[in-house]
């Protein structure tokens, strides 16, 4: 190792890092470390000039290892690995120090932050000295895809994949396609027919030669890895008995959607007690049937719509369910057209009219004489039965902010805009495909800004409301984005998977078999004749459980070896 040459590149990231961290001081401190041949800073290391600088230095100084102190490796490790590769260096000779997300962005004391950045960079320098050249493996990419969920997102993804010539298995739990959109009448803001839109989709899906629509089917298992999954789907045989079928797929798109909030959990709205208090979905049913009436069969004179039922509420869900405001306005229009003389009051906290055409829609809603009542968050309206002498069925007491008065709104029919919730089976689904959920139960994307459809499990994508509340345009956009990601891979026929896996040194393995059962991927087999265990590298996901557990230290975790970690430890504690 005597002639090792390490190059250290500290990124300013504009002012993101440089504002708090004295990058020159970091350079000064790492320059003194053994084997450091060059250390410099630059505005944006990930930019073309930044990468060119790294490549030029690799050539000029004959660098064997590169440290980039910058953003999180989860952001740009692939970028800088490619830069090394272009310069002829094995991409695994890179180590990044996270001095942005885990330093400059979270500390306000420049002295402490700089000291920490220097320690993290030193740790990366000491670690990288022990890195070894690793080769990525190339495996076949099965062009088939499993789409979980037959709603608008699932169908959109399936169609793009199928149109490109790939087989799609569309698994749907219920007995029909269309999901939650099938429960709606019209869509905001243009009041298009949801049914027409869906019918077109469903027909294309059902008739598509490349799509296997599996209704009343449940995904039971997903084994394998990206490009090479085997999924077991339980469906119904002709005689009605459950039957399992195994399909080979290369990718999975999770489009399992959402469920609505249970309005009976909010007692002061009287849902479940007052017969004319209905949820948005119950109202859609009325709209689809073409009859807007009270429970008693009369046309309502007063219709009230209440926003944020179960949403933006610390007691239930703190988040906004995104679609309800515009849907409420849609109802105002639909009521006015179904019951021309009716008074419509829209009782809301804020009007979230963020999308294309939505502000216009909001304006048009007031033009049709919808009465808007604004209430304060946490100061909820209360619904009670009206007296026999009142000319309405119920009275809603609202502490209206804009007028500053407490208003009693009459209502014959109240529509509660119930929020979106993660489905009860979201935990099960998450475990099936090995993805994570956030505290509200929505599936987590790879990166909140830059990678909205991929997940931490390579080959598994998420699209639609299952990732977070969203409307139809956004669901479709995500679904088609997921399809595009998959097509980019299937087009190449092969994919590269990480070179990082674990290996058993058979000269050290004593055959104790502590490891065989530990592996969640059943990647460690025991050769009874040789009396040694062996890792099947294609199945290994490099978690390192066996490495830490092996009592002989016979298993090595590539790229996360004990030596590398001890070196890193030394660096952070120096």
């Amino acid at each position: 190792m005597d002639d090792l040459k390490i190059g250290v590149f500290v990124c300013n990231c504009g002012t993101n890092i440089a504002k708090i961290i004295d990058c020159d001081a970091v350079i000064d401190s790492v320059e003194r470390l053994p084997y450091v041949a060059v250390a410099r800073t630059y505005k944006y290391m990930c930019s073309d000039p930044g990468q060119d600088m790294i490549q030029a230095d690799i050539e000029e100084y004959g660098l064997d290892r590169v440290v980039v102190a910058a953003c999180s490796p989860r952001m740009h490790e692939p970028t800088f690995r490619k830069a090394l590769q272009k310069a002829g260096l094995n991409p695994y000779f890179l180590e990044m120090a996270n001095i942005r997300e885990q330093c400059s962005w979270v500390h306000d004391d420049p002295v402490a932050a700089t000291e920490k950045a220097a320690a993290l960079t030193a740790a990366a320098v000491m670690r990288v000295a022990h890195h070894e050249a690793l080769e990525r493996r190339s495996v076949d990419m099965c062009p088939n895809t499993l789409v979980m969920g037959g709603g608008i997102a699932g169908m959109s993804a399936a169609l793009d994949l199928a149109d490109a010539g790939n087989r799609v298995y569309l698994a749907e739990r219920s007995d029909h396609l269309g999901g939650n959109v099938a429960r709606t009448d019209l869509t905001a803001p243009y009041l298009d027919s949801a049914r027409d839109m869906l019918t077109e989709r469903i027909t294309r899906v059902v008739e598509h030669p490349n799509i296997d629509v599996l209704l009343e089917s449940q995904v039971r298992k997903v084994d394998g890895f990206v490009g090479n999954f085997q999924t077991t789907i339980r469906g119904k045989a002709d005689d009605g008995a459950p039957t399992d079928t195994v399909y080979d797929v290369g990718s999975v798109v999770v489009c399992t959607g959402y469920k609505e909030f249970d309005a009976s959990r909010i007692t002061h709205y009287g849902y479940g007690k007052l017969p004319n208090v209905v949820t948005s979905f119950e109202f859609e049913k009325m709209l689809r049937a073409g009859r807007v009436t009270t429970k008693e069969g009369k046309a309502p004179q007063y219709v009230a719509i209440i926003h944020c039922v179960g949403s933006r509420n610390l007691e239930f869900h703190a988040y906004c369910s995104r679609v309800c405001c515009m849907t409420a306005l849609k109802y105002a229009h639909e009521v006015k057209s179904a019951v021309p003389g009716a008074y419509v009051s829209d009782i809301y906290i804020d009007m979230h009219a963020f999308g294309k055409g939505m502000e216009d829609f909001y304006r048009r809603s007031s033009e049709i004489k919808t009465l808007f009542l604004m209430y304060e968050k946490n100061d909820y309206p209360v619904i009670r039965k009206a007296d026999a002498t009142d000319d309405c069925d119920m009275l809603i007491e609202v502490n209206e902010i804009l007028s500053g008065e407490t208003i009693e709104m009459p209502a014959d029919l109240v529509v509660l805009m119930v929020g979106m919730e993660a489905r009860e089976d979201s935990e099960e689904v998450a475990h099936l495909v090995n993805i994570s959920r956030d505290k509200d139960g929505w599936f987590i994307e790879s990166h909140p800004k830059l990678d909205p459809v991929a997940t931490t499990t390579d080959g598994v994508y998420i699209a639609g409301a299952c990732q977070a509340p969203k409307d139809i345009p956004d669901s479709v956009a995500q679904a088609r984005a997921a399809a595009a990601r998959i097509l980019a891979r299937t087009a190449r026929g092969k994919i590269e998977i990480d070179a990082v896996f674990s290996e058993v040194d058979e000269d050290k393995c004593s055959g104790c078999r502590m490891c065989n059962e530990l592996c969640p991927y059943v990647a460690i087999e025991f050769d009874a004749e040789k009396r040694r265990s062996h890792v099947i590298s294609a199945l290994c996901k490099a978690c390192g459980a066996c490495v830490a557990a092996c009592p002989s230290g016979a298993i090595t975790a590539r790229h996360f070896t004990d030596k590398q970690i001890f070196a890193e430890l030394e660096g952070v504690l120096a």
């Binding site: 996270n98 979270v106 000291e115 931490t456 996360f560 970690i565 430890l569």
Partner: protein
């Protein structure tokens, strides 16, 4: 000069390291005393790492993994969960104060939680003072 503890954090790539990154993207500030070492899974953490960290001068060691049931590798965090009480009992026998080594589950969306844990642990370790290990071993040698 207030004592600034040096705490080494072993964070798993998929949940806790991502959660720590989220604290960053959300600009949630916390104490600068934790230096993070990334591993793929909390199951990779050999108890030797913790012992070496203390030997090399760490005042505290924080281990973070995914919440039980949510491990990216299915059950890696359970492996860490099983090692942890044994490690604690070993550390107790070696006279290391319990608060110096801590295991927490942090998910990818828990940036605030990560920050809170770092702040809490920093104060607890600060109250304990510097770890006795390095100084004690050097003092032993000095008497010979």
């Amino acid at each position: 000069m207030t004592f600034q503890p040096k705490i080494v954090g072993f964070l798993c790539n998929w949940c806790s390291y991502t959660g720590a990154d989220l604290a960053g993207t959300s600009r949630i500030h916390y104490a600068p005393n934790v230096r993070i070492i990334r591993v793929m899974c909390s199951a990779r953490i050999d108890p030797t790492f913790v012992l070496k960290a203390l030997h090399d001068g760490a005042d505290g060691v924080l281990i973070c993994g995914c919440h039980p049931g949510d491990c990216h590798y299915s059950e890696g965090n359970y492996k860490m969960m099983r090692r942890y009480p044994l490690l604690k009992s070993l550390l107790a026998d070696y006279g290391i104060e319990q608060e110096r080594v801590r295991l927490e589950w942090v998910s990818a969306s828990e940036g605030q939680r990560f920050a809170d844990i770092v702040n809490d642990m920093t104060e607890r370790v600060r109250a304990l003072g510097p770890s006795p290990v390095k100084a004690a071993l050097e003092a032993d040698l000095a008497e010979r």
